[in-house]
């Protein structure tokens, strides 16, 4: 029983990483129309930048600064690499982001080395909160709470601010948004940067949980795509739920049959695609 709880909780944490990734991927797929294969590399970058910033500004500073730094790098990548590809065959952006991911991974290897690095979290967060449930550390609880807070902030931004309303409108009909005087180039750039910022945040949080390797993001990327499909393409809430569901499901399966913990993700996807092809929440338009 304790082992099951342990694995469910671990699954929830991994699910949070999937969810943060899937949210960013979903945003970018929605407005920018790009399947961003470099999302995992941006995640890794977030972890590594936080690693280098921690000695200078501490863990808490790095936790805040690193995601925004990664978001800025994302903004630059959108401006220079992605923007020329809007309106072209989706294959172009697929290839580009795939190539970008490999370049970024190699840059990480060049700057930080190919071997894994430990990422230390503050002592205040590393202690278990309970003697019985030793796995419930402060850091893990913090990670779940911060992820939920970040997600809630994103939903508030999309619901209540004009930029958010325009992003939601643009998901449905970018052309009409443009005819209403909105600079859609800037809107797409902001949207891309916000999506990347979420990858960066997931990177910092994942670094403290899983450690740093240049490919840490790549292994989270595929399940995150699965999360989007399970949750329903076009629904941010669905992406979030999809991430948590597959994370927890993998955790449960680990308890009984560890070898199948990777496969179960794809089994869930297969079942969802057969029973409900549009995904769990992929019914109506965005964010309904």
């Amino acid at each position: 029983m304790e082992l099951l709880l342990f694995n469910i909780f671990n699954g929830l944490i991994i699910g949070m990483f999937y969810a943060l990734m899937a949210l960013g991927l979903s945003l970018i797929l929605g407005l920018n129309g790009i399947i961003n294969f470099s999302h995992g590399a941006f995640l890794a970058l977030g972890g590594y930048i936080a690693y280098s910033l921690t000695p200078v500004i501490g863990f808490w500073g790095a936790l805040i600064v690193s995601p925004f730094a990664v978001g800025l790098i994302g903004l630059l990548a959108e401006r220079v690499l992605i923007r020329p590809l809007y309106g072209r065959d989706p294959l172009f952006s697929l290839l580009l982001t795939f190539g970008l991911a490999m370049i970024m991974q190699d840059l990480i290897r060049t700057f930080w080395g190919a071997t894994g690095l430990p990422f230390t979290i503050p002592d205040t967060l590393s202690h278990p909160l309970s003697q019985v449930y030793f796995f419930v550390t402060g850091y893990r609880v913090f990670l779940v709470v911060l992820s939920l807070f970040a997600t809630a902030s994103l939903f508030a931004l999309l619901r209540f601010t004009r930029v958010g309303v325009r992003i939601r409108a643009g998901n449905a009909d970018l052309e009409t948004v443009s005819a209403l005087g909105i600079n859609i180039y800037r809107l797409r750039a902001i949207n891309f940067a916000v999506g990347i910022l979420f990858a960066g945040l997931a990177g910092v949080l994942a670094a403290g949980r899983l450690g740093l390797t240049p490919t840490m993001g790549a292994s989270l990327l595929m399940p995150s795509f699965v999360a989007i499909i399970v949750g329903g393409v076009g629904s941010l809430l669905g992406s979030m739920l999809g991430g948590i569901i597959i994370g927890v499901a993998a955790g449960i399966v680990t308890t009984y049959y560890p070898a199948a913990s990777d496969v179960v993700i794809y089994l869930i996807m297969a079942v969802v695609l057969v029973v409900r092809p549009r995904g769990l929440l992929g019914q109506e338009g965005l964010l309904e």
Partner: protein
């Protein structure tokens, strides 16, 4: 009377098909100009070309005396051009209020408050989803959205489409009010009689070129000609007679 819009020799393509073969038209301050034509004559394409949504391969567009050839749609809109697209294109999954928060913020008399005063029905339905509105309400929302840009030039693509005759009259009254307040209007209509009754001047498009231009009243008086040029059927004129 100065020109709000001068378009010269627009040549527009959709992929490889050549849709507009040198369309030229002018809209002056304080007038309603209607652009008529049969289905597929290129009316919507002309409007999309003017808005920068389907940029012409050749030709020149001046709006408020400024050369806007090749400009993206958002820059043209920000000059003070309101566009009400074919099929209204309201954001069905957003509330009425959120639909009205999409347009760029501009200075002028039209703000969310004054718009809600002009369209009390939209005020009542503020928190309804755009997709739940009736056709007439959606048309009002599309016009309201364009007005929030505080335009000096309004482009409307078939505002009467799919609306009950009574509602069409409401829409036309709104358009005439706008004209009287100094907004120039370019109106594309399938319903030729309706358009000619409300417009000052008319152009007729046929197969991607202008085949007629002149005062609206003059064209309206020549029923045969309207039928021949604009494809207006007896049925539409009969419906108009009832309203």
């Amino acid at each position: 009377m100065s020109a709000v819009l001068v378009a010269e020799d627009l040549q527009t393509y959709y992929g490889k098909s050549h849709i507009l073969h040198g369309v030229s038209l002018t809209v002056n301050e304080g007038e309603i100009v209607t652009l008529l034509g049969r289905n597929g004559a290129g009316k919507t394409t002309t409007l999309r070309s003017l808005m920068g949504l389907t940029p012409p391969k050749q030709g020149r567009i001046q709006i408020f005396g400024q050369d806007v050839t090749g400009w993206p749609a958002y820059k043209i809109a920000r000059l003070g051009v309101g566009y009400v697209p074919e099929g209204r294109k309201i954001f069905g999954h957003l509330t009425v209020h959120d639909n009205l928060r999409v347009p760029a913020l501009t200075k002028g008399r039209w703000t969310l408050e004054t718009i809600y005063k002009l369209f009390p029905r939209l005020d009542e339905r503020r928190s309804s989803k755009g997709g739940q509105l009736s056709g007439g309400e959606q048309e009002m929302l599309a016009i309201a959205r364009a007005l929030l840009l505080n335009p000096r030039f309004l482009i409307l693509d078939e505002p009467s489409q799919g609306l009950a005759p009574v509602i069409v009259e409401d829409v036309m009254n709104t358009i005439r009010t706008m004209r009287d307040e100094g907004i120039a209007v370019l109106l594309v209509e399938q319903n030729a009689w309706l358009a000619l009754r409300n417009a000052d001047r008319a152009y007729v498009l046929g197969d991607g070129s202008i085949v007629h231009e002149g005062p609206a009243a003059e064209l309206a008086a020549d029923e045969k000609r309207v039928k021949a040029l604009a494809g207006a059927s007896l049925e539409t004129s009969a419906i108009d007679a009832v309203t």
